[in-house]
Symmetry: C2
Subunit: 726 residues, 2 copies
């Protein structure tokens, strides 16, 4: 991790430790296309660059002007003197490539292209955008945009946006694929004492992506929390890789837009399965420790709490209040967030009894009633923070005629400073009346919320992050292990794949599973009744017969499945009947034979599936199988590769997992064997990119030590011409 001392920033100098630092703390910035017209965006940018204390050099580039905003203008970027390491380009799209090229020639290493008119307007724009990227690569430049709103750094005072507000310096960095959201956020946080470190809008992400910025902000000592508004992720596996490294040290909060059909249409022309895409995103966030939030307001409520800290070391919260109703709403929300509210220790209870009015409620919530003043809050919070029974304190104030909210805020600040290793998160109900105390508390690094539920949920997310972080630290090297554990399986060839088909039934897919050592009922392909009888005798009764045909998708509806055959005679008869039935119902179907399979004994019916996600790669699914798949949708997802710990976590998330663990005194099932199958399917998908889908349904699980059987399987593969690795 890089160490940037405050004085480096204060002097406007930077260590350029991260290749992206030039976007936030450049020594000098040129604005290419700077306008003298106050109604133009480029004028707004120049104004912002000179308004917020940025101490580097600022150079307008405009051949038609001598000076803008009192700054000397340069006809071209080539004419701009040192220091210069960032160019902001605000010229029409068609001339952007030429402008960027000149930047490269001049030796500028970072450029922000604000202009729109690229990928978002169609093929011609896309070609222009690709040209920009080529030029950047050729000159070793990094590029943010095009079609973005720029960057800002509240410490260096750099502001390359045209948004009118500069936030106070603080701990929260914000990465956004929407410039407008940034503007809205700045408007909303203005005047609340909420501080930010850096803002970056990504635009079309031709070069610098959300993942690049997360990596860079992880090394920024001023940034304590990384917050992102994302519509899409460019390189899924790299995002998981980077985020997994960052989240044990710094929380990442993400709001993902486009989680529904309507929302997706609003952000892209995505055509794949939305449910599948969302499952992949959610799995990726979960695996990499990213906290997903579905609301802009919560994004910042949560960021504030995580930025201020400290993290709670446990889940036990004391509420102290001057009003019962809001406390009970907070209590409900705390419990929903997985926190608990034990009573105070006896000593604390006695102390509180001696120092509060006689009607005060001393359980938890501690309700000091409407007369409680600042001194009461300071006394009670001090006692509760000192009580080993609690990991955090949530003071609630409903403003009363005779109590000064500002005085209570100061009292809370003092009590909290005295015990700096436990978090205090507050709720003051109100708006105008609590504005001043809010700013005061934020100065004390204590979050103030206007509603009980917000405060409780903020504590909830602190605990969720603290717990997850502990889990990650306990699993040191998890990031590497997920690869090594998965890689330990040997790559096997895709045996016996028919070259002319993409949709494979059980008969064709069985050898592929077998190559990956996934147990299946014994079986053989019979072309005659006699052959079927021989196979059945060999594998033992009872057996099932299943028609094998590339043209039959719903075997049972075509009469192509017969179960529980107990003798050779029954097999012979069933074979002939099946062929006759199928030929009658679907005369044109090509029949390749009949699969004779051992009947699997009853057990827990599960599903293990894989879909290849375009962003993230193999997405594994596990859950209750059989008829319950569609009804209950009891499934969990992970993106491969993952470690055994993740496999078990995935199983544990489902009802099926609880069933396997042994319900109501039933013996537990062979969870390790189930985990092994999930991982082998994942391995198979990682080894063979042409495999698009796998469904084992049902996978039947037996008691511990008795293993599992893949009773039916379907696969979808790309045609061989696309299969470079076959």
């Amino acid at each position: 991790m890089t160490v940037n001392t405050p004085s480096d920033h204060a002097s406007g100098l930077t260590l350029h430790a991260s290749p992206l630092d030039a976007f936030f703390t450049p020594t000098g910035v040129a604005v290419i296309g700077a306008s003298a017209n106050p109604n133009k965006l480029s004028y707004g940018i120049l104004r912002n660059l000179t308004s917020f204390g940025y101490r580097g050099a600022v150079y307008p580039v405009n051949p038609g002007r001598d000076k803008i905003l009192g700054l000397p203008c340069y006809p071209t970027i080539t004419a701009v003197p040192d220091p210069l390491d960032l160019a902001v380009i605000v010229v029409p799209a068609p001339v952007c490539p030429a402008a960027l090229h000149e930047c490269g020639v001049r030796g500028v290493k970072a450029a922000i292209v604000i202009s729109g008119g690229f990928r978002e307007v169609g093929p011609a724009g896309l070609a222009l955008e690709e040209e920009l990227l080529e030029i950047a690569r050729a000159h070793g430049m990094r590029l943010i945009g095009p079609n973005c709103v720029g960057t800002l750094d509240a410490y260096s005072g750099l502001d390359t946006t045209f948004i009118r507000t500069m936030p106070e310096p603080g701990d929260i960095a914000f990465i956004s694929q929407s410039g407008a959201i940034c503007g809205g956020i700045l408007e909303w946080t203005a005047g609340k004492g909420v501080g930010f470190s850096r803002f970056a809008t990504l635009g079309n992400s031709a070069d610098v992506t959300e993942t690049d910025l997360i990596e860079a902000l992880a090394d920024d000592p001023r940034t304590k929390v990384i917050v992102a508004y994302l519509e899409a992720i460019k390189d899924g596996p790299r995002f998981i890789e980077v985020a997994s490294r960052v989240t044990p040290h710094k929380p990442i909060l993400v709001i993902k837009a486009g989680t529904t059909e309507a929302g997706t249409r609003a952000v892209s022309s995505h055509t794949g399965s939305l449910a599948g895409a969302m499952a992949a995103y959610n799995a990726a966030f979960k695996q990499s420790g990213v906290l997903r939030v579905d609301d802009v307001e919560e994004l910042f409520n949560f960021a504030l709490a995580l930025a201020y800290g400290p993290l709670p070391r446990g889940h036990r919260v004391a509420i102290v209040t001057n009003a019962g109703g809001p406390a009970s709403l907070a209590a409900d929300a705390l419990e929903e967030a997985g926190l608990t509210m034990p009573p105070p220790s006896e000593a604390t209870r006695d102390f509180l009894a001696a120092h509060t009015c006689s009607e005060a409620q001393l359980g938890n919530p501690i309700d000091m009633l409407g007369g409680a003043d600042a001194a009461d809050y300071e006394m009670a919070i001090g006692a509760l923070l000192a009580d080993p029974a609690f990991d955090a304190v949530l003071p609630i104030l409903v403003p009363q005629a005779l109590v000064s909210p500002a005085a209570v805020a100061e009292a809370i600040g003092r009590a909290s400073s005295a015990v700096p290793d436990k978090p205090v998160v507050t709720c003051f109900m109100g708006d105008e009346a609590v504005r001043e105390p809010m700013i005061a508390l934020h100065r004390h690094r204590i979050a103030l919320y206007q509603f009980p539920k917000q405060a409780a949920r903020a504590l909830g997310v602190m605990w969720r992050y603290a717990e997850g972080k502990e889990g990650k630290e306990g699993k040191e090297g998890e990031g590497e292990r997920r690869f090594t554990e998965m890689a330990s399986g040997k790559r096997r060839p895709l045996v016996g794949l028919p070259s002319d088909r993409t949709h494979l039934g059980e008969a064709e897919a069985r050898p592929v599973l077998a190559a990956y050592d996934i147990d299946q009922p014994a079986a053989g392909l019979a072309r005659t009744a006699a052959e079927a009888g021989q196979i059945a005798e060999k594998i033992g009764f009872p057996v099932a017969l299943k028609i094998v045909s590339p043209d039959i998708f719903h075997k049972s509806e075509m009469g192509g499945i017969t179960l529980k055959l107990g003798s050779v005679d029954q097999v012979h008869a069933a074979f002939e009947e099946m062929l006759a039935r199928v030929q009658k119902r679907q005369p044109e179907a090509r029949i390749e034979g009949v699969l004779v399979t051992q009947m699997a004994p009853p057990g827990h019916e599960l599903i293990v599936g894989m879909r290849r996600d375009p962003q993230f790669g193999p997405l594994l699914m596990f859950g209750l199988g059989g008829i319950y798949v569609e009804l209950l949708k009891d499934v969990a997802f992970r993106v491969a590769p993952f470690s055994r710990a993740e496999t078990l976590a995935m199983i544990g998330e489902t009802h099926a997992g609880k069933l396997l663990g042994g319900l109501r005194g039933q013996p537990p099932a062979d969870i390790d064997a189930v985990a092994e199958v999930i991982e082998r399917v994942a391995r198979l998908a990682l080894d063979h990119p042409q495999v698009q889908e796998i469904d084992i349904n049902p996978l039947i699980a037996y008691e511990t030590g008795q293993g599992v059987l893949a009773v039916d399987v379907r696969m979808v593969v790309n045609p061989p011409e696309n299969a470079a690795d076959a």
Copy 2:
């Protein structure tokens, strides 16, 4: 419904149409215990009574003073002249009864007891509170409190609270079991242009309850939405009755505190099953059309939208925006709330194309990009409201440097006024910068939210209410029907109940179900192996044997169940083996015999249960039965009585209901027979208050027309001495 014309209110006169009007529009108010000390609550009340334009008479009652706040003081309430119809009592608890008695003697018909020190402090306080109620009843007085914060009416200017803020006159009435929540709400809404009609805090609800106030506010023409903060409901059945009558005409929004263990401890010393209590509350709210909200902020966000209206006549929403990101978050939230976003009609699209910039996105969301100004919003909203493709419009504005939010607000107001029959709900992102437009839009009766999700969810609740209302109107007389339909079943005696037991197994409970015509497998009680064989032959093979003993609760673990017996010999042998096994495992158990039952053929395993809820009465449960009850908790609840429409809605809420409807081409099951069993169990519980619990698990359902079988049943009844109705 009472008609109060504006002039009645404006003149301070009232029609006293509702017996509770005196709490809001009295002709004169006395404050008993009025203090001249500005630090006392009673002083605050007197100040408020004289601060907000209340035009009735105000009388401080205090024997030690001549004047307070310039008003002449009276030594006792008896000395107070007319007009007088409301007393506010703020004296110590022990002297409250005497004060209330004097009010009764003076002929005052309404009293608010602000003082605490009653039920909430223990048995002595409870006795005092009961004394208050007796006095009120004796004098025909209505009583709000004790231990409350009073009432206010924004139209009459009456304010009997000591809260420092009086809201603007508006459409929202607020009933609260927490005085502090009222204070917090008033603080939060101050300065936002949000108006209220009436506030009432209930305190201990010795006399006037939440249901009384809902009934009264239903008749208040100024109140368009009733909002309530509730910790408990006093009379469950009456609440359902009243709310069911009100919600088709006026929305009721409720936030229920105490939904978790911690939250419940915070509001009461409730000891029953919390999960059961919450299920009863949720069922009651659902059946009576009450919209439950779990967050104070949403309570008011939703109330505002419902107050302003009009209700959407369908679910199709157009978003018009100057920024893509917020629009996509709104789109996600709209879809989650059950709304849709179809594209505009071709004509509208052409019109928009001709009137917006060339890069504008004209699907839905309609994104006019950052340059959009007030005229653009007015044009687009006008076109979208006129388009029959939409039922509502959601404009979003992210403030931009060159666009005036105030001008956009006025433009939205104009466009909306031109098409008054479709709702417009807006999102302006920001805080200080959107304060003025917020007030302006509220004047236009258009709700403004600061986050896209809030606006989308507000539209969602408008649609949910509109849809539910339509359902209710379609089911005219539902309130009565639910009684008559349920009552149509004849009351049957509880046949064959053993007098010495409260927990009944299958053998004892079977006759009770049979009396209510619920089909069960044929069965008979055998005391010898020979008898068992005879019974088995009579009912037909295969049969099951189940031990009957008051001492054995887990029959299968004691070896007390044997299934699938196919012959008399097997029955004989199984009988002897069972007795031996049970006697060995639980030697002290009293054996009454063995139940021989027909084996029910396989079908859908369901559960039908009943628990008697202390607040609401019989709470019926339906869902997936067998081992899935505990694992999946796939259950729905209703409070009896209810109509067939409600029974079917209850079934439809569960996965089990979907299974019964016929999944993947399976034949549908006999849903009417299932509904009949639910209603017969409800009827049984209504007929016999001593029945505390019933569990039919499994109830097996067969194909349509094939009926159902109650395969096992347990009951819990109160001891006969409590059973006045047995």
